[in-house]
Subunit: 449 residues, 2 copies
């Protein structure tokens, strides 16, 4: 790792050159580097936590004067129960995942002695831009090395001390391995993000880890593909045949288990015929958890007729803008819809293509909903909060993508790969193949992988 | 199909809405639409060829006054031997390809009663921008319908009459099928490309079909992902142990079988130790085919010492710029390199990540070359001109991608797909899962596809 004052352009060029070597390393070589990083960090715990304490001290002062949010201070803290251990365990977890490099995904015999294979390979150079959370450095460095990609890391200024401390350790650890020095580049100079986003000749993919504002800014500022999502406006459609217990459990979990998460519920669409049957129980459970319900007129009228005055006094009127808002808090927009088709149309227009669910007892309606809603995740009778790489069993994730190409949903190692086509021949030329007389025909025989 | 004077924005919005219906149609519904298009075009042959003749007449006049190239006039001609038949056959070929929609590519049992599946689905709305070649309309409409994507078609003005004629027939044919009217949008108004490239809220992928200049312009003018390649600077490394016959055959085919193609050879890297052994035969064969050799000093000196004066008089001196030039003609840049590593470094710096080959008798060197070169296609002892969807056995292609994400190399139906994750539960919530005491653990059990 280069702890460099080099220009962003030099750092990116070095990362690109290193990527060509890293792409050819064996799995044991890449895994050895992760073992070395783990050992290095384990040995350096005290000095890293001391550096982190200095970041925290500055952040606490800034928070007291209102310049920084308390939640950011909390995210900075590497000493928080379990965080350090999780970071270290994460490195070994990534190491022990199946090797994503060099998987043969297609084999075709084009002709005698002429074979086509498609093989997974690293993308090249990743630019990871993140805000607080110093542990992300170790996580991303692990993912990059495991997947054979170079990474350029640009962290937020609040975690600078932690960041430099961790990266010095990673740098020293990598020096003893076959992973080339330039493969992980640390950029500590400030205000270089616009320059980095301009380096499309060297950088193949940008992965922002941070606020919606950060992601939106990056998406609008670069021609390099960006993996991630700016918005997480998840919706649930409560259909009239839904099981009441399922409805209460899933909606409460989706909304309240971590309201600031991108996979939390923001809009609840209720079938009109369910407004006075299942919906009041759901509303009571939500209000009991402190959720503010912003209802459209139909939903509010129906609820008011069914809830006690204590509860109904807390209902608010929804504005149009509420149905395009990712609240990230205990506020929920509620709209009555006549049927599933209106719900689907609403989601496809107002949603963010992240994760949407239907609650129904009809498998036919559920399948129709899941086919029709255009989103990375479409669920039946399950909480939107399952949208997560760990919960999906991917071992780890670099983020959740709402892109329509490449990777979608929670992105693990697979999303850091592309493929190349290899042909092995014996002097084969194309001119002899064709449809006419005397021309050879291709065999195009699929071979087992 | 809407033969519309609607604004680009209205056309794109309608295409997006139609895409949500198209995505839910069954394979027979989509195939029926292709059968109907085929039947419609078959019946309307005379009127379409008459429209094409009008385009051709205008183009021929423009070509005579030097405003249009002869090759463009030739590409316009639908009446050219076999072209009409190929266009019609192409529609049925696409129809008969395996359905790319709804393939389950991953199944994981997250817990009892909670199953995750990953299913292929259409991307949404494709914008296809092309120059001449009126038959592309039928080809692209077929691919879009088969893959469940809406398409917005914007053709070059030279083929307007043919284009309108073919699209009227397609439109009438689709009216009798379940494919919604808005799914294929024709934009005939002029100068709307910049407006279309701005509609990233509706358009998911741009596919340019035309000159390098067109592709380069589009890539630099939109935030929408672009599938394709601007450059095709393919290289071959001639290693010292190469079989001389393989070297002559493959290099001559790569350079001369269709010099204007993107997969043709533009740079030949010759190992110094092969300059006076294998290389002179290769050079003679190329010169005999009319190829102009632009050699660096070492290659020229070596060749001059071996070739007859007739041949050596034809050698030219290479300039630095020649090694960054896609000639698309019978000119070849030639450079001497000391070994394979210099060749790999040259290709990774100067190539366009399209297709590169090594000619060698060493399988070890070949495998090393194929791992190290960062390109969509890396070949051993085979012509670069095999880089083609038909030759790969993909049935058809929408283009050849040098992108580092999503699709790479020749792109068939698979490249027009993305996926979504579906979860089917029974009221499952996330809050009960975790590492702590009393928390449930995920099962993460891979299920057969």
């Amino acid at each position: 790792m280069s702890l460099t004052n080099a220009s962003p352009s030099d750092a990116a060029k070095a990362a690109k050159e290193a990527s060509h070597v890293l792409a050819t390393l064996s799995e044991p070589d890449r895994n050895d580097a992760l073992t070395a990083i783990h050992a290095g960090l384990t040995a350096a715990k005290d000095e890293i936590l001391a550096a982190n304490a200095r970041d925290l001290e500055i952040a606490r002062v800034a928070a007291e004067s209102g310049q920084l949010s308390q939640s950011l201070v909390s995210r900075l803290d590497l000493g928080k129960k379990g965080k350090w251990e999780d970071m270290l365990k994460g490195i070994l977890d990534v190491r022990d995942l199946e090797d994503p490099v060099g998987k043969v995904t297609l084999r075709i015999k084009l002709d005698d002695g002429l074979e086509l294979t498609r093989v997974t390979c690293p993308i090249g150079v990743l630019l990871i831009i993140f805000e607080a959370r110093p542990e992300v450095i170790a996580n991303i460095a692990s993912l990059a090395v495991k997947s054979g990609n170079s990474a350029i890391l640009k962290g937020g200024k609040e975690s600078t001390e932690s960041f430099v401390s961790i990266s010095k350790v990673i740098s020293a650890a990598l020096d003893k391995t076959k992973v080339p020095n330039g493969a992980i580049q640390l950029v500590t100079t400030r205000d270089v993000i616009p320059q980095l986003l301009d380096l499309d000749q060297y950088i193949d993919l940008v992965i922002p880890r941070g606020s919606n504002e950060l992601v939106r800014y990056i998406k609008s500022s670069t021609k390099i593909p960006v993996l991630g999502h700016a918005d997480g406006l998840c919706s649930i459609f409560l259909e009239q045949s839904a099981d009441p217990k399922v409805a209460v459990d899933v909606i409460v979990d989706s909304k309240t288990s971590y309201p600031a998460a991108c996979n939390s519920l923001e809009t609840l669409l209720v079938q009109e015929s369910a407004l006075e049957t299942i919906f009041p129980q759901v509303a009571e459970a939500l209000i009991a958890k402190g959720v503010v319900l912003r209802c459209d007129a139909k939903a509010k009228t129906a609820l008011a007729s069914k809830l006690s005055s204590d509860f109904s006094a807390k209902l608010e009127d929804a504005q149009d803008a509420d149905f395009d808002t990712e609240f990230l808090s205990l506020t929920l927009a509620i709209k009555a819809v006549s049927d599933m088709y209106e719900a689907i149309a609403h989601i496809n227009t107002h949603g963010s293509k992240h994760t949407d669910a239907i609650l129904t007892s009809s498998s036919e309606l559920a399948e129709q909903f899941m086919s029709s809603v255009d989103a990375a995740g479409v669920y039946w009778n399950a909480s939107t909060r399952f949208a997560d790489g760990m919960r999906y069993g991917f071992g780890t994730e670099v983020g959740i993508s709402t892109n329509k190409i490449h990777s979608r949903g929670p992105v693990g190692l697979e999303g850091l790969m592309i493929y190349k086509y290899k042909i092995r021949g014996q002097g084969h030329v194309t001119a002899v193949y064709g449809e006419g007389d005397g021309k050879k025909r291709f065999k195009h025989e699929r071979l087992p992988l």
